[in-house]
Amino acid sequence: MEKAPKLRFDRVNMVFGRPNQPPVQVLKSISFDVGEGEFVCLLGPSGCGKSTILNIAAGLIEPSAGTVTASSRIVAGPGRDRGVVFQEYALFPWLTVRENVVLGAKSGTGKVDRVKVDHFLKVTGMYEHRDKYPKELSGGMKQRAAIARTLANDPEIILMDEPFGALDPYTREALQDQLVEIWSASRKTVLFVTHSVEEAAYLAGAVILLKAHPGELKAVIKNDVAWPRERASEELIGIERAIRRAERT
């Protein structure tokens, strides 16, 4: 028998009702699987509902129809097994970086593992900034701290909603590399939303391509390029080309 996928979307529909206006269909029959330890990117133009998919997976919004299964359990609300990294960083501004990460670590057993907290602060390069408040940090540092917090919460699946979308290209690449390192060390399952073809081609093992109005699955492009990958290498450009070709059809 085939091994059960870590995350499964089964014919998920999402219709948003609006007062005095016809309802909009945001997602139409979305089905896909993400296997354990896989890194999957959701790629598509704005309006294709990729953030909605992520929010449904996180359990933050309920789909109109269809089911989502995470670790063989039906998703019925937010849970610690699925950690989310938001584009807006979502750090608690009244806590220092360390306290934010501690909050993540505490959510599991209630006890705080100092070693674990320090480990994730170091992994994300935030150890020396651990006593700063979020307002003192740059966008890239904020996102690193948010990633450390999510990791400290020890989720099985990490859902990332355009986490590097608001960052400058250099910071963005640095964080991508850091993420790859963390991912290959932990082998967590990652679902990563982006609208950058390059980002998807560089990071993903599989790219799920969506089209907009309504959001529908268009194609799944496998990316078997071996790690470590090199940006702008022939192979990755080949993947980018395959994605763009699929987009056009």
Binding site: L60, R80, F92, Y133
Partner: protein, 280 residues
Amino acid sequence: MQRGLSAELAFPERKRLMDLSLKNPNAMRFYKVCTLILFIAAWQSIDLINSELKFYNPLLIPSPFDIVKKASALWSTGALQKHILASVTRVALGVLMAFPPAVVLGIGIARSRTVEVIFEPLIELIRPIPPLAVLPMFILWFGIGELSKLVFIGFAAFYIIMTTVMLSAANIDVVLIRAARTLGINGWRFYTEIVFPAISPDLFVGVRLGLSAGFVVIVASEFIAADVGLGYMINYARAYFRVSDMFVGAFTIGIIGYSVNMVLVVVERRLFNWRINDER
């Protein structure tokens, strides 16, 4: 010329040292104090002129000097301190009483539909009633002792604190709420570790406003039934036509209110320096 201009833009504090223009905040502060001194001086000189020309009854409007003299007399007998202590204690206790229900209900109404359905209609119905309108009832229910005054001040402060808390709790950044939910922070922890800290700066403002409301209404309750307090002192002075005492009482309330607010503003800046927009 060009150089001078750019240096001035880059280092505005260079020029500030001897800057007496209205752009300099320190000069502004100095001018404000001058206005106050000028006002008092003008008042004193009108009184001086009046003592010769007698165009109004000096008993009705005493001079600043008379008021200060009266204040120090009242201070030396210990009467003024006694009244201040009584009024301040009442305001502090009244606001303290209002604090827990105001916070709990404010957060509850903002974040729970059940609590909203149960409490909001009643609270909104009572809100427009001026506290003074219920003071006679409070006196009947709680007697003429301390309790009726505390309940009265509490009533006035409750609405202010509750409203600030409610608005603040309803406007917590939805991303922070989502982050908390996905981190598995639920139930009691959600309220104590997320909602409460998130609203705490606004809550502090609410308490500050609640205290000022307390000082506004304390006088009225002390007019009606009290044997000590600044309101009592003012009302008692009216019976004996001691206008200077009335001025002392009124100014004392003003000074207390101003100082309490000043202290709290400083505490607020210290306490909540994590806020993003505290560059004022």
